[in-house]
Amino acid sequence: MNNALSVASIVIKELYRRKDFYVLFVLTAIITLLMGSLHFFNDDRIVRYLKEICLLLIWISALAIAVGTSARQIPAERENRTIFPLLAKPITRGQLIAGKFLGCWLACGLALIVFYFFFGVISVSREHQWAAASFFQALWLHWWMLGVVVAMTLLGSVVFAAPSSNGTICLLIILSILLLGRHLNKVAVQLAEPMSGVVSAVYFAVPHLELFDVRDLVVHNWDPINWLICVGATLYAAAYAIFFLFATWLVFRRQPLV
């Protein structure tokens, strides 16, 4: 475990040394503040459009950070040949994958805390109410969703040749799930066999990342989700993250390093 944590700490340091997070955060802040400076019909209490834009930017930024950071971890170690001294520590390939995952996931968590703090400040300054439970649930579910994304991208990084192709393919899959995942069952019932069966199989097999997108509930001030449901979603994400990590280990353990 110590070995994995050591690897994770290096990944976290890498995040705050790189410019990606700062650029994305500054962009999010500037766009949100610019949109917030607009006034519609002389009413300065309109807030939901601003919350929606801010959350959308946070989701885009978080996905870019998660996929970008995870996709380059193992290929970069190979390219720089630092993977040889790392595995000679001794540290097993499983521990390396666990460490890389933990590092990327915790780094995403840290980034999310900063983003959601900014979102909270903007929201409270306009709305004058602090929906703490809803904000926490949104942050928590978002973080677990990124756990699945990080694990999926790590799997991609040992399957695909280059980080760029891995990042592009992962982003396409993630966006497809986010946009279509909820509706695949409706599409399946309108198709003829065997396509209906194929689409149904995809529907039940893919990780439903859209479950963790509670932006509409936060934007429109709905009540917080039942905490037991939240626990269920957490277990669902954990199961998929472990599945992808295990698959990564299966591929990586026999893979030549050069």
């Binding site: 519609f40 209490r45 909820r182 069952n185 409706k186 599409v187 509930l217 429109h220 989700i225 979603a233």
Partner: protein, 299 residues
């Protein structure tokens, strides 16, 4: 082989000549965006209408607090509409109830455990922005929709309705309607809504009458041109005019509007009843009032 500088000079001359020929042609070209009076028009062209529709729908989504059918659900069960609530004042409770119950069913029963589980993570109950002042949240999207497509009349009438009826922002509503009127000078819908601002909010009967009569004229022109009369708006204009004239004591004019209304109303019996009641009122009124009313009732 001539010198490269000469080739470059020749190309420059060709480009310059082409530019002097193409520029005037492009300026006079009917499809050119350069004639557009706004930056949005130049940049986005006709795609503005597409985005305007999207943002108008977005306002509807906000009106339902995020509870809104996706394109997949709409293919099955249709979409709720913000204008349904706008026109609710003219509808019966049963009609509005029907709209609500139709919407309540767009999700249908859960199809599987993922569907059932996922409904905890997005708005899955029918809801409206009912609390005082909440309706303001739809305004940014309507403003953007109006900016993107100034010829979408519905945007102005819906926004003006919410501004004056639910947010008590009569000045902003009037300003928006005037803006819409400038962009759509033939729109009787905008004139009708403007008349409501004068009548219900400003209590200025004279201006309301003028605007509604103008709306009636525009309606006649458009109907004559298109051949497909919009009886729904005509019915509303005639109803409002009849009510205004009756309130002002111009009974002859009120009767004339009611008789026109009877011809287009889906409930002619009710209108006939109103006509009978008004006639009784005219007969039972003191002679001085009756004559006065008839005098002032002259066009």
């Amino acid at each position: 082989m001539p010198a490269p500088s000469l080739i470059l000079a020749l190309l420059f001359v060709v480009c310059f000549t082409l530019a002097t020929w193409l520029q005037p042609w492009h300026q006079s070209w009917a499809g050119g965006r350069a004639q557009s009076d706004s930056l949005l028009g130049v940049v986005m062209g006709n795609s503005r209408q597409l985005f305007a529709n999207h943002f108008f729908t977005k306002a509807d989504v906000y009106f339902h607090s995020g509870y809104y059918p996706s394109v997949f659900d709409q293919a099955i069960g249709g979409a709720p509409h913000i204008t349904a609530a706008k026109d609710a004042a003219a509808e019966t409770d049963a009609e509005h109830g029907r709209e609500q119950s139709e919407e309540a069913g767009f999700l249908g029963p859960p199809r599987d455990w993922i569907d059932r589980f996922s409904r905890n993570f997005y708005p899955s109950r029918h809801s409206h922005l009912d609390r005082p002042g909440e309706a303001r949240e739809i305004l940014p999207w309507l403003r953007i929709a109006a900016d993107l497509d100034p010829h979408k009349v519905e945007t102005y009438t819906v926004a003006a309705y919410w501004l004056r009826e639910h947010l008590n922002r009569v000045d902003e509503a009037e300003q928006l309607l005037r803006e819409g009127w400038r962009a759509n000078p033939d729109s009787y819908e905008i004139l009708f809504e403007l008349g409501r601002v004068f009548d219900e909010n400003r209590h200025d009967s004279q201006r309301a009458r003028n605007v509604w009569e103008l709306a009636l004229g525009k309606w006649r022109q458009r109907s004559a041109r298109n051949g497909e009369p919009d009886d729904f708006v005509l019915e509303q204009i005639l109803t409002r005019l009849a009510q205004l004239e009756e309130r002002e004591g111009h009974w002859e004019k009120a009767l004339s509007y009611l008789e026109k209304l009877e011809a287009v109303s889906p409930k002619p019996e009710a209108i006939q009843q109103q006509i009978n009641d008004l006639k009784k009122k005219v007969v039972s009124a003191p002679p001085a009032n009756r004559s006065g009313a008839q005098q002032t009732g002259k066009p």
